[in-house]
Amino acid sequence: MDWLFLAEVSLAGIGAGGLYALTGLAFVLIYKATRVVNLAIGEILMLGGYVFFGFAAGLALPTWLAILLTLAVAGLFGGVVERLLIRPMLGESPISVFMLTIGLGSILVGVVELLWGANPLQLPDYMPNTPLFIGEAYVSAKVATAFAVAAVTVVAFLLLFRFWRGGVALRATAGDQAAAYSMGIDVPRVFSLAWVIACITAAASGMLVGAIGGISPTMGVFGLSVLVVVIVGGLDSVLGAMVAGLFIGLLEALTGAFLGGEFKMLATFTLLVAVLVVRPYGLFGTHEIERL
């Protein structure tokens, strides 16, 4: 056994897992507040990458400004989408809203293709590029940076939900909108807020993912792996997104290293099925209450 190799592979896996967790957070936020599984997260992530590209490469703005502007645009986008598409769907079945987000994703792909073309693009290098060594083990600097950003964000949200009173409002809104209204909770605002924050988060991971793998209209498939992450973790659990994100990152790295890349998807989806059979609501998800 080559221990150094194992260590390096594991670190790489955990690094990628951080990105999964961060993007998973965007899923979870929206689900927690609105009970919508937003399949467009992958495409919103892509949009984040492209908007950043537009600011940083197209307009040649300084990196920090481009990042801030991208986050702002993403937030605005989240608000607009919520207002125009999601709010009219209040009270419709979860399947319908789920499909709506699929439609949204398709629109985004088309729009990006229209504006930036279908060709893959490379983001300007804005992340540190000097290699990092933990002990003797090599860690890609970009992946390490991405992991750090992801870790800070996810932990911040974990704390937020533990100690912030608004967390209850979020869950209340998700559970029963009419009742939430009647408690004096501003339901539309909770909805917008969830979408705004989630889209900001997704755009942030878009910039990170794009920096590592480049951007293309098809990069939304990243969302598919993240979907597995949040299902395994439990759709409404931030902790679940974190744990499952890291775990799946690790699993993918190890299968990739020891079995070959073609087994990665198989491994994650097999894990998904296994987890669902044992725990139908993911590792940390809330059970739906079913009473007669």
């Binding site: 209040l90 009270g91 009173r165 209850v168 409002a169 869950r171 209340a172 998700a174 559970g175 029963d176 909108q177 009419a178 009742a179 939430a180 209204y181 009647s182 408690m183 004096g184 909770i185 501003d186 339901v187 809330t286 209450i289 009473r291």
Partner: protein
């Protein structure tokens, strides 16, 4: 008796509903020019058969209609003297109008205590003290405060729904069938508590209730509605002497004693006020 009636008339009203009409889905008209008022500090009862539009009336007042594709097409609702038209439901809650919905609507995925927390958003200074008050009224909730509300029995959920109103400490509570599914003892208890809240906090209430006897016990004035409009109203003392009310809402036979269900023959009767 006449004194009571006079008192009602004098008191300033916390709620005035004038000639409202409600249409669902742009097609079904449910309320047709309904008016009622709740004087400050009083309990008013609203009775009527299934589908008459009682729940709709309350939703029209609290603004929850919009959630069900219903619209207030005519008339006006004044809460504390200002119109509620154009105001969002949550703003009304902040202004002190609290609606305890039919069918409880507890947050199933939240614990009992979190349900109470959710009700504090309308009030800046809510604290654990308010929870103590709820637990004092409903000790059963205290026992189950860490449990998920979704697993409470029907009655326990009803307690929780009323408990949330207490925490919010509003000026006016709209109560939709508070006794639905409650045991006789609890029904009595809930109505005692309703009376207590009214007496101790001066909270005004509009109570929709099928158990007319109970409603009459706590209310000073009552409205009776059929198919979208008020057909009779008056001080409770007066209504309780009305022949139709006695027959259809209190279940008393011609002679004045309660009818036995076994003796009721199955036939369609016509209410006099409909003819």
């Amino acid at each position: 008796m006449a004194v009571a009636a006079a008192r009602v008339a004098e008191a300033p009203s916390v709620l005035e509903v004038t000639n409202i009409e409600v249409v669902y889905n742009h097609t079904v008209q449910v309320l047709r020019g309904l008016s009622l008022r709740v004087p400050e500090g009083q309990v008013v009862a609203l009775l009527g058969s299934n589908g008459a539009g009682k729940t709709t009336t309350l939703k029209a007042i609290s603004g929850l209609l919009a959630l069900e594709n219903g619209a207030l097409t005519a008339g006006d609702v004044l809460f504390s003297g200002t119109t509620t038209r154009g105001r969002k439901p949550h703003e009304l809650v902040h202004a002190g109008l609290f609606h305890v919905m039919e069918g409880r609507h507890v947050f199933e995925d939240l614990t009992v205590e979190e349900n109470l927390v959710a009700a504090t958003y309308s009030r800046a200074g809510a604290s654990a003290r308010d929870f103590d008050l709820v637990y004092e009224y409903f000790p059963r909730l205290y026992e189950r405060r860490k449990g998920l509300a979704g697993y409470l029995s029907g009655g326990e959920q009803q307690m929780l729904a009323i408990g949330r109103a207490l925490v919010a400490n509003p000026r006016l509570i709209l109560l939709d069938e508070p006794s639905l599914g409650l045991s006789p003892l609890l029904t009595e208890e809930i109505f005692t508590i309703i009376a207590r809240i009214n007496a101790e906090h001066g909270t005004s209430m509009l109570v929709v209730e099928q158990n007319a006897a109970m409603a009459f016990a706590v209310a000073s004035y009552a409205y009776i509605m059929e198919t979208g409009r008020i057909v009779t109203d008056g001080p409770v003392e007066t209504l309780m002497r009305d022949q139709d009310v006695r027959e259809f809402y209190l279940g008393m036979g011609e002679e004045g004693a309660a009818r036995n269900y076994r003796d009721v023959k199955h036939y369609k009767r016509r209410k006099r006020w409909l003819s």
